[in-house]
């Protein structure tokens, strides 16, 4: 009996091989004509700003907030799935617990909402 995950690995390998081949081959297949402007960052024709964006680029805090919220809810889902699978067996206890769980997340959610964490102005 084969490991049930083998097909996934094969799929991964095939897709990876294909993608890697593409990115590796690309420079060799295409032409190469040096032009300094071409290698600058694209900023709509403006001279690119001198500071490097990599590492130092700063972004609105809201993105961090979204990332944190995502983590919160993603983890919530991690708990909802096992419950969902065995919901019928858990009966009233499981139901009450999961309702409490969702409510707890809901409190945090309401807090974030009310305090403007979800606003993009």
């Amino acid at each position: 009996m084969l490991d049930p995950y083998l097909p996934l690995v094969l799929m991964f390998a095939l897709a990876g091989a294909f993608a890697l081949f593409s990115v590796t081959a690309a420079p060799y297949i295409g032409p190469r004509r040096y032009n300094r402007a071409k290698l600058d960052a694209y900023e709509c024709g403006i001279e690119p700003s001198p500071q490097p964006v990599v590492g130092g680029g700063r972004m609105p805090v809201a993105y961090y907030l979204t990332a944190m919220l995502f983590i919160l809810f993603d983890i919530e889902m991690v708990f909802l799935y096992p419950f969902a699978v065995s919901a019928d067996r858990l009966g009233l206890f499981g139901l009450v617990e999961i309702a409490l769980f969702v409510a707890t997340v809901g409190f945090a959610y309401a807090y974030v909402w009310r305090r403007g964490g979800l606003d993009w102005n």
């Binding site: 805090v61 961090y64 944190m68 708990f79 096992p82």
Partner: protein, 99 residues
């Protein structure tokens, strides 16, 4: 594959994380090293669950993930706050507190 290899891998990852925490200077990198440690533990937990033929290790991994997530949220907040002020996330730049 014997589970021992997973345990060794987990130990290795944990050590890497620990060393990273000790030698790296960027707060965010340090923080990611801590997360690496937590995930190394997850690997251990799941492997042990497999060895013991029980589910609870995997359930624990869930809890660890939750904790890791909460840590990420809190940690990012704190690090961002100080980063905003100092424009540097280097641990060495935080040197106001010493005797």
């Amino acid at each position: 594959m014997t589970p021992t290899y997973y345990l060794l891998l987990s130990a290795l990852l944990f050590s890497l994380g620990a060393v990273g925490v000790l030698v790296r200077r960027n707060a965010i990198v340090v923080f990611m090293c801590v997360e690496l440690m937590l995930n190394a533990v997850n690997l251990s937990l799941v492997t042990f669950a497999r060895i013991n033929g029980a589910l609870d290790g995997q359930v624990m991994a869930f809890f660890v993930m939750v904790v890791a997530a909460a840590e990420v949220v809190v940690g990012l907040t704190i690090i961002m706050a100080i980063f905003k002020t100092r424009r540097s996330a280097s641990v060495d730049d935080s040197n106001l507190l010493k005797y």
